[in-house]
Amino acid sequence: MASQTEAQINISKQAIIWLLLSLSITFTLYAFNLENWVPACFVVFAIWRYLIEKNNWAYPKLWLRFPLTIAGGIAVLVTYGSLFGRDASVGLLAVMISMKLLETRTKRDFVVMVVLSYFLTVNILLFTQAIWVFLAVLLALIGLTACLISVSHQTKQTTISPQIWKVQAKLAGKLLLQATPIMLVLFVLFPRIPGPIWGIPQDAYSGMTGLSDSMEPGNISQLSLSSKIAFRVEFKSAIPANNQLYWRGPVLWHQEGRRWQMTSDNIPLPTETIETSGEATDYTITLEPHNRNWLLMLDLPDIASSTLPAEAHIKHDMQVLSKEPIRTRIRYQGHSYLHYTLGAKLSEHERTLALQLLEDENPKTRQLAATWVSENKSPTAIVEAALRMFREQTFVYTLAPPRLGKEPVDDFLFNTKRGFCEHYASSFVYLMRAAGVPARIVTGYQGGEINPNGNYLIVRQSDAHAWAEVWIQDQGWVRVDPTSAVSPDRIEFGIGTALPDSNLLPLLSRQDYPVLKNLYMNWDAVNNGWNQWVLGYDQDKQLALLKKLINKDIAWEDIGLILVTTMIALMLFVSYLLLRNNGGVVLNPTNKIYQQFLKKLSKAGVTKLRHEGAIDFGNRAAKALPNQAIEILEISALYSSMQYAKHQASSNITNAPNQQTLSLLKQLVKNLKIK
């Protein structure tokens, strides 16, 4: 439709204030995620625009705006190296919005700005989706809607109510509140197509933390400094003891100097055989996105009985992988056995891989291994000897080990003797291989923290761990955790108790603040629900929920039909509530009775005119109906005095009319008989 006389009506002052307020919220959120100069740029232009409004300054001319815009574009290009990609394009939008503030004055400018700002504000969800971010986004949306309202509120009346702020904010809140049922229906029922539809910029998942596909000394201790949650686990039955909680991640076979790596997928190895004993443990894992393929599972997983995401598979060494990197929070059900025999037979190829070492390194370690071999020790005895060495010598478990020299294993075992789990696991496996015992490193997480408020287990990045598996005739691959020889507490009670120099650890992994910890546990329980039901709501959850609601299997296509019917029903209902003609008329008890009186008189042919006072109308009606004149005059006088009293009362305390007077009026109207 044609625009409505844009130029002639000034945009009210509220509009720019609402816009600046809500953009301030948005840019505060971005301050955590974009280069600092981008929010700083907003602050400068926002203040400039505010001063233009306040002091009636001139708007900057094109000769100033144009170079500024070019400079902004170049600044983004220099900072991010491109104008595309997640960070760069959001940065560019943010900078352009900041600058456009300087030419925002007509209704059209404002509406375009608000639409762009809606877009920018929602884009923060690409970076973070925490509850408080969601609340802040909602607040910004209310502000932007209020801006739209104040822009749309054009009038030639010059008197502006001082309440206008409140009215606009209230209306914005009301609109969004009324939109909520529609949101809920669409959220639950709109068919969730699993993305992506097109390629996603490479930088979209930077900043996700988790285990890597290789390990070097320092990797895991670095990860341990993060209190970020790796995953949460709900157990169907009792939670196993802490020392049983080994969460299996990447299995590393290949040694190359300090670095240990996974086997290549090109090497065809037979899947290791499993014999299980004892009861299985069932649990559900909610895995945080970490941009890798690992699906962590309790050692040892039985994937035949687990419900994993589509196209997940298990490698020959019992490592479970998804097809695509985990970029959204996912949930899967695991089925694991704590007691098992893995890989009873070892093929020649596997043996070669499990004994692989680079030549001519770490002579002292090789020497030690050679002594054990020359003593004719059995593999079990060699394992024992190594563990005894860790236990009896002055090895220290620490998050801050010294740097290792050129021969890292030698340096660690015979010189520094201070290390974190990756030092112990890698040197142990090195020692085993040197002594001819097939061995490999397993990385993953160990332990976790029970949240009593939700009865589930929280596993953090700080629980990251590395241990070893050695292959022994008739026993298969046996888990050996050399760290437990050095620091039994780490395995029994978790990392918080094991490290004396705990101030390096994240606050929440420490033992010092029980109140804080309890608060945190409550908060995490809320977060867990948020993750499960809001952030984790996907196609599978959608189908499962509908199945539960309707008690019938539902095809993907049926959701569309359900959605359309529900939406039509909802819209009809909402339209009825909002559009019925008497909507919103709330009569007070006095008025209600008076309306009955009017109805009665109207039936007798005397209708009250608009703007006719109660007394005037009473006089007219009394003349028209002389038989009821006294009653009519009495009612009119009483009603009028009650209305008057009500207006008086606004300055006093008694707001409601006297109960006695009210019942008197009621009685009088009831007794009024016309004819």
Partner: protein, 327 residues
């Protein structure tokens, strides 16, 4: 008077059907008893260009949410979708069920802006905001209407010819609260404005006063001798009477006033005007009425079917002009 009323309605109530114009396809709320209601049937709604832009925003957010699998993105996209749908209802109900009551329109001379007053009334106990009202190509008046109250809209329209000017179809519209939808309705009110004839500019000089009202005698000095003071310029005053010197000192134009003018009686006769064109002759008579009133002369008006006895004062003045307008 009654006869001349009929005469005039012929000219102003010519049927104005334009079947080719799509605008006539829309329903129009027609006044009954001076009040008309913009009921459900009269209200139309379409998205504004901002509405389409908002739609693009929603599509963008939805594809983004699908592409990046952001569940919370879906939630906010749907919240904004809901906002759009709800705003549609709010915009609609901001205009619906308003009552329009025709108020007065003061007479003006042909060629001047006729101002029609309308009371826009809410009786649904709902405050209305930013209601636009306008004639097809004229400027809009924009007002808020408080709940259970009324606001007076003033719509102006340039008048063309003398007689009754019926208010054309009025377009009421609103985009409140969020400018995403344009809601409009057409209404025809019972408003009409009396348009006086345009006073002739190239005036013949006022006929001289005469006891029996003989006309045709022209006098150059009539009534111009006893200067009595100034009054403000009124439309129709002869430029000769403007005191330019005094006007340059004061704000606005001042017209010289003369004493003793009212004492003489003057008959303004249709037959005293010359020419074949009736409109020009009426225009000339109008000029005389205006001038005579300005000079406080006592004057009467003689038309072919009607004559008004000499008198002075505002009531008489308007009576004469009305007679001329409807002749």
């Amino acid at each position: 008077m009654a006869e001349s009323l009929n005469l005039s309605s012929e000219s102003s109530l010519k049927p104005d059907f334009k079947l080719s114009s799509p605008k006539t396809w829309f329903r129009t709320a027609i006044a009954i008893d001076s009040t008309t209601t913009l009921s459900r049937r009269h209200i139309y709604i379409l998205p504004t260009r901002f509405g389409w832009m908002y739609g693009l925003l929603l599509i963008g957010l939805l594809t983004g949410s699908i592409n990046y699998s952001i569940s919370l993105g879906f939630a906010i996209t749907f919240l904004l979708t809901g906002l759009g749908l709800i705003s549609m209802l709010h915009t609609w109900r901001n205009l619906a069920h308003l009552k329009i009551e025709a108020k007065r329109a003061n007479p003006v001379f042909a060629g001047q802006q006729a101002v029609f007053e309308l009371a826009v009334i809410d009786d649904s106990n709902r405050a209305r905001f930013s209601i636009f009202a306008k004639f097809a190509d004229e400027e809009a008046d924009i007002q808020d209407v408080p709940a259970l109250d009324e606001s007076i809209f003033r719509l102006s329209l340039r008048s063309q010819k003398r007689g009754w000017l019926k208010a054309p179809r009025i377009t009421f519209s609103t985009e409140f609260p969020v400018s995403l939808f344009h809601v409009w309705a057409y209404a025809e009110t019972a408003n009409q404005c009396l348009i006086y004839p345009n006073p002739s500019l190239r005036s013949q000089i006022l006929p001289s006063a005469d006891a029996d009202g003989a006309t045709g005698q022209l006098s150059t000095t009539q009534g111009d001798d006893d200067f009595a003071g100034h009054r403000n310029y009124q439309f129709g005053d002869s430029p000769k009477r403007v005191d330019w010197k005094a006007s340059s000192r004061e704000q606005g134009l001042l017209v010289k006033q003369f004493q003793g003018e009212a004492s003489s009686t003057l008959w303004l006769d249709f037959n005293a005007t010359t020419g074949n064109n009736i409109e020009l002759r009426i225009s000339q008579l109008t000029r005389w009425v205006v001038d005579a009133d300005a000079q406080h002369l006592r004057y009467g008006l003689r038309l072919p079917q009607l004559s008004i006895q000499p008198s002075i004062g505002d009531v008489h003045y308007h009576q004469c002009l009305t007679a001329l307008a409807l002749m």
